[in-house]
């Protein structure tokens, strides 16, 4: 398993473009990202209005790589050398790159990660130098977004990427073999947490219902502003965070018991969760 993991240290083959200038701009964007199990930075992308797709941010890649299946989906065909122009390449958070050049390809690193389900989602490509260099990029894993600031640089059109070395071809073969053997399905369906519809407040005395949404689930179950919440699903709660944790796996249309104290009297009510946020 370790050898396979090591090969995911990404490094790509070679390109030889040159610099060019672009008109000045000073736009700043907050780009949401996720950190995968493999510690790659994952962002969401729309191409020509299709998507969202999942792309890695990789300064070790010389150019944009887009999975061949995605090319088909967005109706972009490669030229004879495997390159394509994507009319509108949009990154979640507001970054828009028009006429982005990229390679339609299925790099072995992505194939391997996809077979192993390591990213938690299917990966559709890699954003490399030719797009990244247009922005000043800020990485900070204590923050939920990256900051991208448009630079005055227009990186050159990527040209050829040269040939992979024999060593890399060997790794590619190995990754394909091993990931085939270890393939696993980790695609997870996402279900929203059920809605209760109660605003909470935390004091030294505990957790208070500050308000309920009119005709929302908590309201219909009889909760009232001023109730002190003492237990959720049979377990004591002292902080708002406790309430979130006790309900973290509850979907819509489920019954949950809430124990509260109202005017000195304890009572337990059952809330049927709703949909919404």
């Amino acid at each position: 398993m370790r050898p396979l993991v090591l090969t995911l240290v990404s490094l790509w083959s070679l390109a030889t473009p040159t610099w060019a200038q672009a008109p000045p701009q000073a736009d700043t964007y907050q780009v949401p990202y996720r950190l995968t199990e493999t510690k790659h930075v994952l962002v969401r992308v729309k191409i020509n209005g299709h998507g969202p797709f999942h792309f890695l941010i990789d300064t070790g890649a010389p150019a944009l790589f887009v999975a061949t299946a995605v090319g088909k989906k967005v109706g972009v065909a490669p030229d004879t050398r495997g390159w394509a122009t994507f009319k509108r390449f949009e990154i979640e958070g507001g970054v828009v790159i028009e006429n982005a050049r990229g390679r339609l390809d299925d790099p072995f690193q992505l194939e391997g990660m996809n077979k192993l389900g390591l990213a938690g989602v299917e990966l559709h490509g890699v954003i490399g130098y030719n797009l990244l260099a247009r922005y000043k990029l800020e990485f900070d894993f204590t923050r939920p977004t990256m900051t991208w600031t448009r630079l005055q640089y227009e990186p050159p059109e990527p040209t050829g990427l040269g040939r992979a070395s024999a060593g890399l071809e060997g790794i590619a073969l190995l990754v394909r073999m091993l990931s085939g053997l270890l393939a696993r399905d980790t695609k997870v369906e996402i279900k929203p947490r059920g809605l209760l519809g109660m605003e909470l407040e935390e004091t030294a005395e505990g957790v208070w219902v500050r308000a309920v949404l009119a005709n929302g689930p908590a309201d219909r179950a009889g909760l009232k502003s001023g109730d002190r919440l003492v237990a959720v699903r049979g377990r004591a709660v002292a902080r708002v965070g406790d309430v979130h944790r006790r309900l973290a796996s509850v979907g819509p249309d489920e019954d949950v018991s809430l124990t509260l104290v109202r005017q000195g009297k304890a009572m337990t009510l059952t809330v049927t969760t709703g949909r919404g946020l």
Binding site: G60, L137, R193, M198
Partner: protein, 273 residues
């Protein structure tokens, strides 16, 4: 294991913000060299030896130091045989001191190996002795500026997890069963829907609770919700996913389309659920 998935999917990042407020420090600026292959190379001292040229790669989950540089800098004893690359994958070592310009980092984990891709680049662009990746740069708020050919670093208090350990755990974990519940971090007070066959961006706002946070910010039933706090909301699940990353008590930008016009609202979710 569950916690790992949680953290990896980005939801773990929010609590880190609250806990990890590092005191503001002056950024350290470090120049980099851009190879013709468009890889970044930095000059790094290992235990006071060097400088060595290392690739700087945000796509690398591990730091890698070549065998010769490891021997010179005392990471590998002169006689110890380097581990074979694929057959017996090495355990990481902790480099006591890594210096990048004025930046000093201690106990930086790295694998000792001659990576074939590094060897290929060395042949083309002169000696390169390894890779600096996630376990190094994640310790900092880091900026990359290709125009100025420099990067900046400010310690951010983040402690990069052990990548290999997390990966092993992930690979050995049972395949997930059933859906994963995504929870909004605050109470917004509205519902959304996405009718079957609707392939347009966004979701439709169905109900806005009177007196709730969304109503207070001007959201209306029938609005087409395009983004929530900068996140795309193209499905109901997306919408909840976005809300999971947006802390209550803070104003978040929200973009809706209402009668052919895009309108920017500011909504402040409240503590609750």
């Amino acid at each position: 294991m569950r916690a790992v998935y949680w953290a990896v999917l980005g939801l773990g990042l929010v609590p880190t913000v609250a806990g990890g407020q590092a005191p503001p420090a002056k950024p350290v600026t470090v120049p980099f060299e851009l190879l013709r292959s468009k890889h970044m190379v930095v000059r790094v001292k290992l235990n006071g030896k060097g400088p060595y040229r290392l690739l700087f790669d945000t796509g690398a989950p591990l730091n890698v130091i070549g065998v010769q540089a490891a021997r010179e800098s005392g990471l590998l004893t002169k006689t110890a045989r380097p581990p074979a690359f694929f057959l017996a994958a090495p355990k990481p070592v902790a480099i006591p001191l890594v210096e990048l310009g004025e930046l000093k980092a201690e106990k930086v984990p790295a694998m000792i190996m001659d990576h074939p891709a590094v060897a290929a680049l060395s042949q083309a662009f002169g000696p390169i002795d390894g890779i600096l990746g996630f376990p190094f740069f994640a310790r900092y708020r880091m900026t990359l500026d290709y125009q100025a050919s420099e990067m900046t670093f400010v310690p951010n208090g983040y402690e990069p997890p052990d990548v290999l350990e997390a990966l092993m755990a992930a690979l050995l974990a049972p395949e997930p069963k059933g859906p994963r519940v995504v929870a909004a971090a605050g109470l917004w007070g509205f519902t959304v829907e996405k009718p079957d066959g609707d392939t347009q961006p966004g979701v439709v706002v169905k109900e806005v609770y009177a007196g709730g946070a969304a109503a207070a910010g001007g959201l209306k039933p029938g609005d087409r919700l395009l983004t929530l706090g900068g996140h795309w909301t193209d499905s109901v699940a997306d919408c909840h996913y976005a809300a999971s990353a947006l802390p209550p008590g803070q104003a978040h930008p929200v973009i809706v389309r209402r009668q052919q016009q895009e309108i920017r609202l500011s909504l402040t979710p409240r503590p609750g659920l």
